[in-house]
Symmetry: C2
Subunit: 339 residues, 2 copies
């Protein structure tokens, strides 16, 4: 796109561009056009709506020179959809709030929309509307609307002492991907499972829906900030503690085990599911579902502490995961924290 | 709040603070707590949902040293709710995406939440959830979910040649308020109608709902960017033109008429309603509704042009309102545009 064209891009033109890219996508229940200020949605009978929103900000959550625009488009939607998976629901549509500098209104925007459209298609989540403005840095906020059968949404506060604790997939891979990206020259594209997971995470929708449909999980959430940050949230909401067996953690095999366990305990951005199952139902949880591993990593306890044990003994698990309001941790030092 | 406390504020603590302020507010249909990543909403039978989101960014939409935090809280919700009013719907709940520097996590946040809570209460729009992160500048994105009787939402594309064109309230006041604010020392508080309208706009929910219920408006939208920007959008969506009588425009009396008319044509941020009514129904529109003036300012034409006429003749109306992607206009020069 010629510079003079970028400079003269108006809000209407930007909306037209977004609309062109998404024009073929599922309009069946979204009756309004993107250039209205609102979207209209007809909820299905017998369903509850699930609402969630997520920031995705240049410099905080991604770096323009390190993360391909296409992966920014994919990930900003996928991570919000993961919150829907974490209730056992299905995504329906999303709103995109996008602030852009003129320098990103050409090729960057095209590739961003391409990644976003692919996520929208694969996750069955249509673009319903949004808001755009101009800004020095790229700012993204995504709101996703999902549905779940009335009364079937799984919360994070239903865990009981004795419940078994499970996770999907492998933990710590996305964090390892972030570390690889640091040493990568230029914008990173997926070269292995870890980088792919950091750049193109896949919300575990099928497993979440299956857990809700079969009333198998007593508590459920997704792992966005790392096990050591998220497990205490589930336990605190449920008024329980937990005991994690470090030897059972499903970790990456790309680094030595001790480092891999540390990544699995504290690394963020995995978007795997963490859930609890009553002891008498635990045998109904398979070791894999649609090709995604499901691993029992421990159990829920009556005491409030979160403990990790391995061959060397038992210790308390302290949060070292992602919290934007804590001083930045070494794991995240390459993604600079705004002051 | 002591500096060391601000520094150690975690995301969980910030959420607790938001939750405390809003704890007494309408939870009847929002069953989940704020510290879950999602909110659950049970839509009413026979209703369509209306979804809308709006940016409200420090430096683009407000200035921390000029706009009281309380007005930032009020306005970020009120302007998004105005999009619901502009369909004839009623707001139900909202999601708050908030990015804050630690320096704003004390007094600023308290006052912001106070204004937001007041808007939430007066506009009958409950806080359902949100996302928080840390950032150099204050970033706000608000998503509002509203409801409207199925099939009754009014769009902007139904205007026909011959329809009468109406606006609510007075136009250009908020722009005048912005100009006053420039010359104000320190953070501005409402001292007159114009400043009040700039700082605490009131979405015209009752008029919108009444128009929808009685099927009176053929097209409806709100005036957020100024008549000269928004009227072309209504006309373009409807495939029509319009003729505005400048002498009929409801303007502020705080400045001389010629300047007031210019403000009314091009000033943004009024959040009044702009709507069209079939000629045979036009007599059913009163001159005021619940104390808010309703004024016929012109009519819809078959030609595509937007014309303004006054005692001196007829000219084409060119957009001089707010478009963040256009080069900043003198009217807005005090609110710096990000490059």
């Amino acid at each position: 796109m010629a510079p003079q064209k970028v400079k003269s891009l108006t809000e209407n033109q930007l909306l037209s561009k977004v609309q062109r890219v998404f024009s073929a996508r599922g309009k069946q229940r979204l009756r309004w056009k993107l250039d209205d200020d609102v979207a209209l949605f007809s909820p299905s009978a017998g369903k509850d709506l699930i609402l969630t929103c997520d920031w995705f900000l240049e410099g905080s959550h991604f770096l323009r020179r390190k993360h391909a625009a296409d992966s920014v488009g994919w990930k900003c939607l996928a991570r919000a959809v993961s919150d829907i998976a974490a209730t056992g629901g299905s995504p329906k549509c999303f709103l995109l709030s996008l602030a852009l500098p003129p320098s990103a209104a050409g090729q960057w925007l095209d590739q961003f929309l391409s990644g976003l459209r692919r996520a929208s298609k694969e996750l069955h989540c249509s673009l319903a509307g949004g808001d755009t403005t101009r800004r020095r840095e790229i700012l993204i906020s995504v709101t996703v609307i999902g549905e779940v059968a009335s009364g079937r949404a799984i919360r994070r506060d239903g865990a009981h002492p004795g419940d078994h604790l499970f996770v999907t997939g492998r933990l710590g891979e996305a964090e390892l991907g972030l570390r690889m990206l640091r040493t990568d020259r230029g914008a990173a594209r997926a070269k292995n499972a870890s980088l792919r997971k950091h750049l193109y995470p896949e919300p575990r929708l099928q497993i979440g829906e299956w857990l809700a449909k079969n009333r198998l999980a007593s508590a459920l959430m997704d792992l966005s900030d790392g096990l050591s940050s998220d497990l205490p949230r589930l336990c605190s909401a449920s008024g329980v503690g937990a005991r994690v067996d470090a030897n059972r953690l499903p970790v990456t095999s790309l680094v030595e085990r001790r480092k891999a366990v540390h990544l699995a305990l504290h690394g963020g951005d995995d978007y795997e599911l963490l859930f609890t199952v009553r002891k008498d139902k635990a045998t109904r949880i398979p070791s894999a579902f649609h090709g995604i591993a499901i691993t029992r990593i421990g159990e829920i306890t009556a005491g409030k502490k979160i403990l990790v044990h391995d061959g060397n003994g038992t210790r308390e698990l302290n949060a070292e995961g992602w919290d934007p309001f804590r001083v930045s941790r070494p794991l995240r030092s390459e993604i600079p924290q705004a002051r």
